[in-house]
């Protein structure tokens, strides 16, 4: 799909708590052909202190309604201003950016998400489900208050939860979840979350010889491979996360 800059119109906002928001926005151009794992780059026009665009994963696409969803956590001024947007406002959006998860060859996929890392996994789960496969999803967080969206996954996936304090699901880190003891049950793992978490999952995947893709969140300036700011260190040297990624097979990363 050709990249472009478009003004999306926000047509629904769901504030999940004081920091997390799910936004649905309608595109003025058809949204056919967006791949799971791709992201948009948003110019936050009303934030004085936000100069560059902000990369945000595509959480879901409804091709019929020509709409897209994003799931955003307010961590700084840019995402805070997005959190405060209202229905009817316009979202200056550059899209679709990045590569894609390679899910088509996976029969038993495991999706692992933490924090706003869950964002790209919903559209991935949906695409997998459209292929007739029911994926397994584990969501990890510090406690039950930081678990979001699991109910939305339930229609299309088997959802498991791990919380550090045991307030929801199994107690412990996501990598301590019982599913990880039999990781061989899965043929591919798709991970998105804080880097330490992705590295921990990656390590186990390697040890158990299960394929593993991670979605990196390097800071970006351009989002289209022109500034070389967002590079990941791979076996081929520095490559742009915004074009060669954000999804990488961990065997290509120098982790």
């Amino acid at each position: 799909m050709k990249k472009s800059v478009q003004y999306f119109t926000i047509n629904a906002v769901e504030r999940l708590d004081a920091e997390h928001i799910l936004i649905e926005a309608v595109s003025p151009v058809p949204l056919q052909g967006i791949l799971p794992g791709q992201f948009v780059n948003i110019d936050v026009e009303k934030s004085k202190t936000t100069f560059l665009r902000r990369p945000i994963s595509i959480h879901d696409v409804d091709e019929a309604k020509n709409s897209m969803k994003i799931f955003v956590k307010a961590v700084g001024d840019g995402t805070r201003a997005i959190y405060e947007m209202q229905k009817g406002e316009k979202l200056n959006t550059m899209f679709p950016l990045g590569n894609s998860f390679s899910y088509s060859n996976s029969q038993k996929p495991l999706l692992v998400g933490g924090g706003f890392g869950l964002a790209p996994l919903y559209y991935l789960a949906k695409k997998i489900a459209q292929n007739g496969i029911r994926p397994t999803v584990i969501v990890g967080a510090r406690n039950s208050k930081n678990i979001f969206l699991t109910e939305k996954f339930q229609d299309i996936a088997d959802v498991h939860v791990a919380t550090n304090d045991g307030s929801l699901g199994e107690k412990g880190m996501v990598t301590e979840h019982s599913l990880f003891t039999n990781l061989e049950n899965f043929d591919k793992i798709f991970v998105c979350g804080p880097e330490p978490m992705m590295k921990a999952v990656g390590k186990i995947a390697v040890s158990k010889n299960v394929e593993c893709e991670v979605s990196l969140e390097n800071t970006m300036a351009c989002g289209i491979g022109s500034c070389l700011c967002c590079v990941a260190d791979t076996k081929d040297g520095h490559v742009c996360v915004c074009t060669e990624g954000p999804v990488f097979n961990i065997k290509d990363l120098k982790w």
């Binding site: 050709k2 990249k3 472009s4 800059v5 110019d43 202190t49 936000t50 100069f51 560059l52 665009r53 550059m94 390097n218 800071t219 970006m220 300036a221 351009c222 989002g223 289209i224 491979g225 022109s226 500034c227 070389l228 700011c229 967002c230 590079v231 990941a232 260190d233 040297g237 520095h238």
Partner: protein, 303 residues
């Protein structure tokens, strides 16, 4: 109608809007957004003799109305450029200009010599002002003597249009511009990035892997404008102005201050279509103000 063209020596530019090195890749990155052939020129990524991996990540920090970068001239080297990239970009119907960087005079010379043979590269931009590499780079651009050594050496071997890109991290940029002119530069471009630094207070660490990096974006525009104005009083060769240009009005300000052409850098990241919009905006302004040629507008500041 207005005539947007201008010339450096006998090199014709259909309009005065170029894209700045390091901010526009090699051109194809922007194919989805603009017709690259409509630009006055494209200055491709800084190219060195050898392949360079650049600096470790993180290489970027956002700052108020600007950004710091510490890319460190990541590129695959001149030979790779000639073999693989040149063929892909030579069909653009605009001036494709290579930004030449190095850490020793002989590296600059060698790269320039190789570029001399490429028909579709009508000019080079000598980068003696990159703040993001340990040896060479900016060091060449911060004293008249060292600037002289690189410029005169490259001038001996490079026969086409040679633009010299100046560093703003100096007490007296006009004297360095004068040196460039005296050594045979056909034009100067300014400014490269201002040396800056960003810190993550919570982590108590520099944000960039290299501690310091180059500041660009609208934050630097007032400094860039001032330097273009100062340099325009000091040299007769054309000046290509850049630094924080975000729209056509900004571009006009550079013409009025004394630039014959402009480059757009960081703005490409925020609006990938901006370069073309700026061309249109300049045309509109010229119509409104009754300027028929770019030349009529250059330096026309009423002080």
């Amino acid at each position: 109608m207005v005539d947007l063209s201008f010339k450096i020596k006998d090199l014709y530019f259909k309009n005065p809007v170029l894209t700045a090195s390091g901010t526009f890749g090699y051109g194809p990155e922007f194919d989805d957004f603009v017709d690259v052939s409509e630009l006055g020129g494209v200055i491709v990524k800084g190219t060195t003799l050898e392949h360079r991996e650049g600096n470790p990540y993180p290489r970027m920090a956002e700052t108020p109305s600007g950004m710091l970068n510490a890319v460190g001239l990541q590129n695959k080297g001149i030979d790779y450029f000639i073999k693989h990239i040149y063929s892909e970009i030579k069909s653009y119907k605009t001036n494709m200009i290579v930004n030449v960087s190095g850490s020793a005079v002989k590296d600059y010379v060698e790269v320039a010599e190789k570029l001399n043979h490429l028909d579709a590269i009508p000019a080079i931009e000598l980068n003696i002002s990159c703040p993001n590499v340990k040896e060479g780079g900016m060091a060449f651009g911060t004293s008249c003597e060292s600037a002289q050594s690189v410029i005169s050496a490259v001038r001996k071997v490079y026969k086409k249009v040679m633009i010299v890109k100046l560093s703003p991290n100096v007490t007296d940029i006009a004297s360095i511009a004068k040196t460039a002119e005296d050594e045979g530069a056909d034009a100067v471009s300014l400014i490269n990035t201002l040396l800056g630094m960003a810190i993550d207070a919570e982590k108590r660490r520099p944000i960039l892997s290299t501690v310091t990096g180059g500041l660009s974006g609208p934050a630097v525009k007032p400094v860039a404008l001032r330097m273009v104005w100062q340099v325009s009083k000091a040299v007769k060769i054309p000046i290509i102005g850049l630094g924080g240009i975000m729209n056509a009005t900004d571009a006009i300000e550079f013409f009025l201050a004394g630039a014959s052409a402009i480059q757009i850098g960081t703005a490409n990241f925020i609006d990938p279509e901006i370069s073309i919009k700026v061309i249109k905006g300049i045309e509109e302004y010229m119509l409104r103000h009754n300027f028929k040629t770019i030349d009529e507008m250059v330096g026309k500041l009423e002080c």
